[in-house]
Subunit: 209 residues, 3 copies
Amino acid sequence: MLWSFLPKESNFFDLFDQQVEYAVKAAAFFKELVAKGTLDDQAVQTMKDIEHLGDDVAHNIIERLDKTFITPFDREDIHSLAKEIDDIIDMIHTIVNRLRVYKLEGIDKNLIEFAAVIEESVAAVACAVKGMRDMKHSKAVMDSCVEINRLENVGDSMRDTMLAELFEQARHDPVMVIKRKEIYQDAETILDICEDVAHVVESILVKHA
Amino acid sequence: MLWSFLPKESNFFDLFDQQVEYAVKAAAFFKELVAKGTLDDQAVQTMKDIEHLGDDVAHNIIERLDKTFITPFDREDIHSLAKEIDDIIDMIHTIVNRLRVYKLEGIDKNLIEFAAVIEESVAAVACAVKGMRDMKHSKAVMDSCVEINRLENVGDSMRDTMLAELFEQARHDPVMVIKRKEIYQDAETILDICEDVAHVVESILVKHA
Amino acid sequence: MLWSFLPKESNFFDLFDQQVEYAVKAAAFFKELVAKGTLDDQAVQTMKDIEHLGDDVAHNIIERLDKTFITPFDREDIHSLAKEIDDIIDMIHTIVNRLRVYKLEGIDKNLIEFAAVIEESVAAVACAVKGMRDMKHSKAVMDSCVEINRLENVGDSMRDTMLAELFEQARHDPVMVIKRKEIYQDAETILDICEDVAHVVESILVKHA
């Protein structure tokens, strides 16, 4: 009942829902791109558009924070959450840009593997963030956070294995080693940022325990 | 009126003014150095001196925090702000040291470009931090934060373009690629830290909205 | 007196004591490994076991946080502290794994030097964290934090010197440069994370000043 008198409060949840949807979209698009192994202007533009739309929602959240008296959880946490989700989308955008700038075209089975794990992790982020609307069912949110942490560990060891292979296979082309190493690290960084989101969500739950 | 009875409170603003001035000085000195393209002992010492002076103010802020009952904004935020501004100066110091240790002398037009953007960003940081003294004029502070964010994006894409060029031009000297890549990344990190300051400032404003 | 009625509160300190002990153990084991200069399956497993035990304590702390009404300091700070100490152990685990995956065996005098500084820094972290139990003796805790900061600076300049040497000595084996550079940076990152713990501890002290 009371809830209906607090439309602005629930708006934050709506905005976070939108924002994580852009993260989901970015992850899906990245997976599609690496499956094709080609990167044209159109693809780079599409990625940029998703990033801009995500930015708009983030700014919307911060601005609304300025004008809202009652917030569903601490203002600082709303701020960090918006920033971290934005960082996910930014990093996917960065990696796409870098593939282009570094002229790394062609199918890279490592990147295909990474894109699948990133998609899973971003899906778990979406679950965790959407689940915050209903703090009573925090078990599901906590499970998503555990899953995000698990996928970060998976990414960590994937990265190390891929680098070991790269060091062997491309040892006569050190600049290629440098380029691909950076891209795999960027891919792993996306999973780190997902974990950062999980930490913010966990700390919000802890405060509302 | 009341203000005059709270000298210690206003002292925090004075100290932050001093601290950002050292950041401004460090950025100006870095720009000068890369314009000359040479690095002697004297220059390294001057940079070290600026870093020490910045450190002293940061420690001063933290110590005063211990002894002050009323603070103009949350103790934790004063702590983070002092730390992040210190990080800007540290990172400029680090990059100068690294140029020396890596024996990267000579004019590098990319670094000249970066130094100009860094100087602009640090100037916006100084505006944002100094502007906090008067929360009623938060519009100007917010504008500086937006500018800092914009410059971070500029730096991001500058870095990527420079790396792409570097990969082409220096592909027969991979160790040179490794060295310069690190320096450009460090330069970009300075802009990231400026953005972190902007986030702390924004979150302080959000709490006082 | 009252203290004895709050057994759970004191439990957090017991758990943090356990957690830092695993960090101390990880640092000691790392030092032993690099002194030998060989890495077999058994060693990798031992490191993994320490990391798992550390993980268990961290999860224990977070779960207990959910069920405890009165905490000795802010819930968020307990959360960050547990996370950062966990990050120290994780990073030592990562570096051991990487040495193996990159096939970097043999005595590396630089790593021996780093392992000694890491052991010192983790010992200071243990002092700082254990000292929080008795906020009245915050001087000792603050001294440990200063020492951690000092060691981070030592590590920073060690790393730069080692990289300069590496660039000279291994310039005809760029992939080796890439591998060792990453390992030295990881070693330095451990000292950075110790510094992050010190910052959390300092900010807790600041709030309880």
